[in-house]
């Protein structure tokens, strides 16, 4: 097991290197750079070439590509992401500002998704083809069919029209004012969590149905074991593995992928930062965010793989 963990950890290094090379090159293929984005956008078409060259020099964009890459990698090795090409502020500062919100939202949405998906999936499976099963299936298909941002818009409009109320527009950390914090984040968490719970519910249901038909469950029933015990000790533990994978990967995705939902609820999160960094051709910030999200995915994948061994002792790693 220890060898397996070490092997997986080492395998992360070439993966990260690959991601780094890919994002570095892809960004430079896209037309324009941070200087053009800054001065050729709104009304600013009249800038002299001298000014543009001076700004490029300041940002190191006049350097050959290999040199820019080496400088960036040397910084990464020291865990120094450098400065944002747009604001000139340290990237760690830019990310830190948005990270608390994105992490809290991801945790809230994932928790909500898990709390809905697992019981509903189990219930639908054990009550297969009854009205309960149909109701759960309708509920989950509706969740799959509705994009979370659209649900978010509906929520906002409903609150406005029926209650003449809107969630707070500025993020307040949980430890500063829990009420304000929850009043702002509960709605996007519900919109996003419902969407992901739908995926989880369907996966849990089909996985449970498969497990419930296994020989060892039939044996347990034949032995006269209490149904609740069969479900909790034998069925759920085995059926939950694929659901765990899905919810974990969704959690990693939620950290940087909630662009439209963040826009609808005006949340100052990593998703919006990501899109703005790309639009502004902020190479350094985009690179840092891609590396951050890639690291999350690798870590989550790694943790899920380790959790598999704990949940299913039949799995042996070599």
């Amino acid at each position: 097991m220890a060898f397996y963990i070490l092997k997986r950890l080492l395998a992360m290094i070439p993966t990260m290197l690959g991601v780094a090379v890919l994002i570095f090159l892809l960004l430079r293929v896209v037309p324009g750079d941070a200087v053009e984005a800054r001065y050729l956008g709104e009304g600013g078409q009249y800038q002299s070439q001298e000014l543009m060259q001076m700004e490029r020099k300041k940002l190191g964009l006049d350097q050959p590509l290999w040199k820019q890459f080496v400088t960036w990698m040397a910084g990464l090795a020291r865990l120094d992401f450098g400065l944002s090409m747009w604001t000139g502020a340290p990237i760690s500062e830019e990310i830190e500002l948005r990270f608390a919100l994105s992490l809290q939202l991801a945790i809230m949405a994932s928790t909500l998704a898990t709390l809905l998906a697992i019981p509903l999936g189990i219930l639908a499976a054990i009550k297969q083809d009854t009205w309960i099963d149909y109701a759960v299936r309708v509920f989950s298909i509706a969740g799959l069919a509705m994009p979370s941002f659209w649900l978010g818009i509906l929520m906002i409009l409903s609150m406005l029209i029926f209650f003449k109320w809107l969630p707070p527009m500025v993020f307040t950390p949980l430890w500063v004012n829990p009420w304000e914090n929850l009043a702002q984040l509960i709605w996007p968490a519900l919109a996003v969590g419902y969407r992901y719970s739908a995926v989880g519910t369907r996966m849990m249901r089909s996985s449970m149905l498969e497990v419930l038909r296994e020989d060892y469950i039939r044996t347990a029933r034949a032995k006269g074991l209490w149904l609740k015990l069969i479900l909790s000790r034998h069925a759920v533990k085995n059926a939950i593995l694929p659901v765990l994978t899905i919810i974990s990967l969704e959690f990693a995705f939620l950290l940087g992928g909630l662009v439209v939902t963040e826009q609808v609820f005006n949340l100052n999160g990593l998703g919006m930062l990501f899109v703005e960094a790309i639009a502004r051709r902020d190479y350094t910030l985009t690179q840092a965010l891609v590396m951050l999200v890639a690291t999350f995915f690798l870590i989550v994948n790694f943790v899920v793989d380790i959790a598999y061994a704990w949940l299913d002792p039949r799995i042996r790693y070599r």
């Binding site: 896209v30 037309p31 324009g32 053009e36 984005a37 800054r38 001065y39 050729l40 956008g41 709104e42 009304g43 600013g44 078409q45 009249y46 800038q47 002299s48 070439q49 000014l51 001076m54 700004e55 300041k58 747009w86 604001t87 000139g88 502020a89 830019e94 500002l97 948005r98 818009i153 906002i156 409009l157 609150m159 406005l160 003449k164 109320w165 809107l166 707070p168 527009m169 500025v170 993020f171 826009q263 609808v264 609820f265 005006n266 100052n268 919006m272 930062l273 639009a279 502004r280 051709r281």
Partner: protein, 531 residues
């Protein structure tokens, strides 16, 4: 006697009504103005940045030497701000400004002419390594001098009709000379001015908070206790914020549909201010590409556009409205409609115009069904509806146009390559001033941002003539001649429709007047809230 009684009754009513009217117009102190801002600036330096995202939340921390009259809806009249008064020498080459006394920076130090000189030196003669995006606009200035603490003198190389308007630029914040001397880029990351509000906090991506400056030089102002600018990219979220009464106003613009929805939902709680907007999309025709090097083809393109019908239809769905030439309609140098309608493509008889367009195309040897590519910027409003509209208009004179939509940030790098045949271009001004609005159209050798890639010495001469004219009528005549040559005789560029600025705001907001520029009127010193 009855007449007297009626008179008394009238006087009594007037007597009762007058105090109420006066009272309702009497500014009230206190309150926090909340407004969404759709864009966030990269730095805090007004001398460097281009986006209104800097002006809306950060202008209240600063003053400029002059400002545009906050009560003038035309947005064209420079009035004193830090300057108390000014005189101009007979030859028009020396402008002397007397500054207000007792103006303090937010750190408590006195503002003097040294600070004004240092700020303008940074803008006009930036030291090495300092970026000034508006240096070119002040090419007329030879030197800035500060003979005593309350006097600033600008020496010009030639007489300029637009110089005062240039000094009313909302970007030209007055910074502290001592700070600039130590670190010329200090203001990129820090805020410290003489404005009516002091800086409290800026949480990136979230909001900016300002608080009333107790030591403000304009006694009695500001009225607000503070303001909170909230960065909000999504227009639906901005509308929801105003509708939910979480925000009072958004200073850029909403669409006509948003206006109608807000009015329907909130009724009298919403006040709507509208104005022609000093922003316009125009069509650049690449003179280096055949057959667009032939002015008959360019004239045909403009003759095909039914601007009057387009105005009626497009104003329902897009943020455009008025038919315009090179100046915002209704402003001092704008061509009156009757005269404007004589230009190619501005006539009211579209069938006649299109027949002429077809004749010109035939004469130029352009076959029926001729195909070309129209490049457009990937911004939905108003680029998309205007692009679709124009393609349909050109189809009606037998042209087959391919719509090439390019992602917003990649758009100008593409246009600058000179590969586009016909493309959408735009400009937005911070003040309606012919020098600023017409600079775009000078020959490419004088303005590399002219993406029509033409050389027209006659047009350049007309520009210079109006720019240096000291007589109003002489200037107007030169502007008309410039406009006729640009849009009609040579048809170098094609104007679409003037943008329409719509600000539906909470009726609690008073003391703010809309102007044609979304860069103006954001100092907030005159704004107050009724409750």
């Amino acid at each position: 006697m009855r007449q007297f009684r009626s008179l008394f009754a009238l006087l009594a009513i007037a007597g009762l009504a007058l105090p109420a009217t006066v009272q309702s117009q009497q500014p009230r102190y206190g309150g926090e103005l909340v407004f969404p801002v759709p864009s966030e600036p990269p730095s805090y330096d007004g001398h460097r940045e281009e986006t209104f995202g800097l002006i809306h939340p950060f202008a209240p921390f600063y003053n400029t030497l002059l400002r545009v009259d906050p009560n003038d809806p035309s947005g064209t009249k420079p009035v004193p701000s830090l300057a108390e008064s000014w005189t101009v020498s007979k030859d028009g080459l020396t402008y002397t400004f007397k500054l207000h006394k007792g103006v303090k920076f937010h750190d408590g130090s006195d503002m003097t002419s040294r600070d004004v000189k240092a700020s303008y030196d940074k803008i006009i003669f930036p030291p090495p390594g300092v970026g000034s995006t508006r240096k070119g606009q002040y090419a007329v200035v030879q030197a800035v001098e500060a003979p005593d603490a309350s006097t600033v003198v600008f020496k010009l190389k030639w007489a300029s009709a637009s110089f005062l308007a240039g000094l009313a630029s909302p970007w030209n914040f007055i910074y502290k000379a001592d700070i600039l001397a130590k670190e010329p880029n200090w203001y990129e990351k820090n805020i410290m001015g003489t404005g009516p509000f002091t800086f409290i906090e800026h949480v990136k991506g979230s909001h900016v908070v300002g608080k009333k400056f107790a030591g403000y030089w304009d006694k009695g102002k500001p009225y607000l206790e503070g303001f909170r600018a909230i960065f909000m990219r999504d227009s639906a979220a901005q509308v929801a914020a105003v509708r939910g009464e979480r925000a009072h106003i958004q200073f850029r613009s909403f669409t006509s549909k948003d206006r109608d929805n807000l009015k329907a939902a909130l009724g009298d709680k919403i006040t709507v201010q509208e104005s022609d907007w000093d922003c316009i999309l125009m069509v650049g025709v690449n003179h280096k590409k055949k057959p667009f090097d032939d002015k008959r083809v360019r004239r045909a393109l403009t003759l095909a556009l039914d601007r009057h019908a387009g105005s009626k239809a497009l104003s329902q769905i897009a943020i455009v409205k008025a038919v315009a030439g090179v100046q915002v309609p209704g402003t001092p140098f704008a061509t009156p409609p009757a005269e404007l309608n004589k230009l190619a493509g501005y006539g009211t008889d579209i069938n006649k115009s299109r027949a002429e367009a077809k004749r010109l195309l035939k004469e130029a040897g352009v076959p029926e069904g001729f195909s070309f590519t129209f490049s457009n910027r990937g911004i939905p409003m108003p680029y998309e509806p205007l692009g679709v509209w124009m393609i349909d208009q050109w189809r009606q004179i037998g042209l087959n146009v391919k719509h090439n939509v390019i992602e917003s940030r990649a758009y100008f790098p593409f246009i600058r390559k000179g590969e586009a045949e016909v493309h959408m271009d735009f400009q937005c001004g911070y003040i309606v001033e012919p020098d600023l609005d017409m600079y775009k159209f000078l020959s490419t050798s004088r303005n590399p941002a002219n993406y029509g890639y033409y050389e027209d010495p006659v047009l350049d001469q007309l520009y210079d003539k109006q720019s240096r004219a000291t007589n109003l009528e002489e200037r107007k005549a030169a502007i008309r001649a410039f406009e006729k040559r640009l849009l009609d005789e040579e048809a170098h560029y094609l104007m679409t429709l003037q943008w329409n600025r719509i600000i539906p705001h909470s009726s609690k907001v008073k003391g703010w007047t809309i102007t044609p520029s979304h860069y103006l009127n954001n100092t907030l010193d005159t704004v107050w809230l009724t409750e």
